[in-house]
């Protein structure tokens, strides 16, 4: 397994936004998760979900929707792990 950060972004208060990242080999098992980089204790800051598109026989595109659960702007990293 190996991990990485695909993108860094920010989200306005109580908004959600979708990012996409393309050209991923379809044979890879990839999981996506988000880590806030702006520290606020006491409550969750972001939630996310992932959708996937098979773009060709060999490549796929991941669509990551991130939701800011707070009343303040959140900065975060979009992280991935290639499991196999």
């Amino acid at each position: 397994m190996w991990t990485g950060t695909q993108f860094s972004a920010s989200l306005a208060p109580n908004t959600s936004h979708r990012w996409f990242t393309w050209g991923w080999p379809v044979g890879w098992h990839v999981v996506w998760y988000v880590m806030p980089t702006s520290a606020v204790s006491g409550a969750p800051q972001v939630d996310w979900d992932v959708a996937v598109e098979r773009a060709s026989s060999t490549q796929c595109t991941y669509w990551i929707t991130v939701k800011n659960l707070t009343g303040a702007t959140v900065t975060f990293d979009g992280r991935f792990a290639v499991l196999s």
């Binding site: 397994m1 996409f20 379809v26 044979g27 098992h29 990839v30 999981v31 979900d49 992932v50 959708a51 996937v52 598109e53 098979r54 773009a55 060709s56 026989s57 060999t58 490549q59 796929c60 595109t61 669509w63 499991l83 196999s84």
Partner: protein, 426 residues
């Protein structure tokens, strides 16, 4: 050979009929005839898209109509061809059509066998173009009639030398990605997508379009033609088996001198020419290289050219339509799970209807294992996200867990997918 309740004509208009009848769309044909498309038919969306594709491309449509209601009960896309050869067998007649590399057959079980055979014989003698309609998967001929459209072709006899400039393997891979990224959505194949997932027929159009794209990117390819009793196994055909009389694909000459073939219908990357030939089931097949400008080369060596890509566009439209019609059928869009082996760390193949959610469960997992679940569509459909998923877990016993995976299909198409797992630790 007119069959009852069949229209074989160009579609001129697809329109909504009276507001009170919003269940139906009117399909108007070139002669002024019309038929009704029942939007409650599960095939209607695909048929509508196919009819629109045929209308836009000026292709002739084959439509069967219920005589009592005027409602369309079948839509097919006839092939504009010349009959080249007929070979009688005990159970039917093998029919060689030009241009087509698929195997076509007239079954003796067809109640109109004698009439259809007579029409095919007349067409073979006259060499006049005909429209041949066949069943989608078995390629059994069900209708033959004169093609009123004249088509301009420039035919020559001889051989054309290869012209390709050498490239590195990395450049060959780039060219493969370039053309493979033009794959048409298997569930809704629209222009300018290339119907790589319709392996039955149309390779010469795909090859010419791939060459056009490579030349546009500054790389000069060639082509290789293979002639023989060809058979390939494909997960993009419902019965997994494709039979050809010939096949063609672009080639690139490497700086090492090797010839690599770019054929996304068969391989996920460029492959050496010998590898490409080896999967086509005929060790005695003959290979003929030509330049990229040859649009079609008959087994006898007659060459046809299409410098303006007009015939190419017609071929691509024809086989996008065939793919659309296959996707609308009970088979659904490719690939077909019955033709696929379960890959490692894949728990199941699933199928989910368009715009629906469905939950699967899998039990007996050791509760101390750390398991994550992901979903990967096998349906190729570029442009928008297709599937998302969520996971719930049940502690079924002191040692075992059951995972419940809910998959949501946000596309309007039926999608097949792999349900994948990874065990992070045990």
């Amino acid at each position: 050979m007119p069959r009852e309740n069949v229209l074989v004509e160009e579609v001129t208009e697809l329109t909504a009929v009276a507001a009170a009848e919003t269940r139906y769309r009117a399909v108007v044909f070139a002669s002024g005839s019309s038929a009704r498309l029942d939007l409650e038919d599960s095939r209607a969306t695909g048929w509508l898209a196919a009819l629109e594709q045929m209308r836009a491309a000026g292709l002739t449509a084959y439509v069967e109509v219920d005589p009592g209601t005027g409602v369309i009960v079948e839509v097919l896309c006839p092939l504009p061809v010349v009959v080249d050869d007929l070979r009688e067998r005990d159970d039917g007649v093998d029919v060689e059509l030009v241009v087509s590399h698929a195997r076509h057959r007239l079954s003796r079980d067809n109640p109109e066998f004698d009439e259809l055979l007579a029409a095919l014989r007349r067409a073979r003698e006259s060499r006049e173009p005909v429209l041949v309609t066949e069943t989608p998967d078995e390629h059994e001929i069900i209708d033959v009639r004169p093609d009123p459209k004249a088509r301009a072709e420039s035919a020559e006899t001889g051989e054309v030398g290869v012209l390709g400039t050498p490239v590195t393997l990395a450049q060959a891979n780039e060219m493969f990605t370039l053309v493979n990224n033009r794959t048409a959505c298997s569930a809704n194949p629209i222009a300018p997508g290339i119907p790589f997932t319709y392996p039955d027929d149309g390779c010469w159009g795909r090859a010419h379009e791939m060459c056009r794209l490579m030349i546009g990117a500054g790389v000069q390819p060639d082509k290789v033609w293979i002639y023989g009793n060809l058979h390939v196994v494909s997960f993009n055909k419902p019965d997994c088996n494709v039979y050809w009389g010939w096949h063609v694909a672009p080639t690139l000459t490497l700086t090492t001198g090797e010839t690599y073939v770019v054929d996304p219908a068969l391989f996920p990357n460029p492959v050496p020419r010998a590898t490409w030939a080896s999967v086509q089931g005929d060790p005695a097949a003959s290979l003929v290289p030509t330049g990229a400008d040859v649009f079609h080369r008959s087994s006898g060596g007659t060459l046809t050219f299409d410098p303006a890509y007009s015939q190419t566009n017609t071929v691509l439209a024809t086989y996008r339509t065939q793919l659309q019609l296959r996707a609308a059928s009970s088979s659904g869009p490719p690939p077909y799970s019955n033709c696929l082996a379960l890959p490692p760390r894949t728990q199941w193949f699933g199928t989910i209807a368009g715009n629906t959610s469905h939950r699967w469960f899998t039990f007996g997992w050791p509760a101390n294992w750390h398991v994550v679940w992901t979903i990967m569509p096998t349906l190729i459909c570029p442009g928008t996200p297709t599937l998302s998923w969520s996971v719930a877990v049940e502690r079924a016993g002191s040692t075992q867990a059951t995972y419940w995976i809910t998959v949501t299909n946000s596309s309007p198409h039926t999608v097949r997918f792999e349900g994948r797992y990874d065990v992070l630790s045990t």
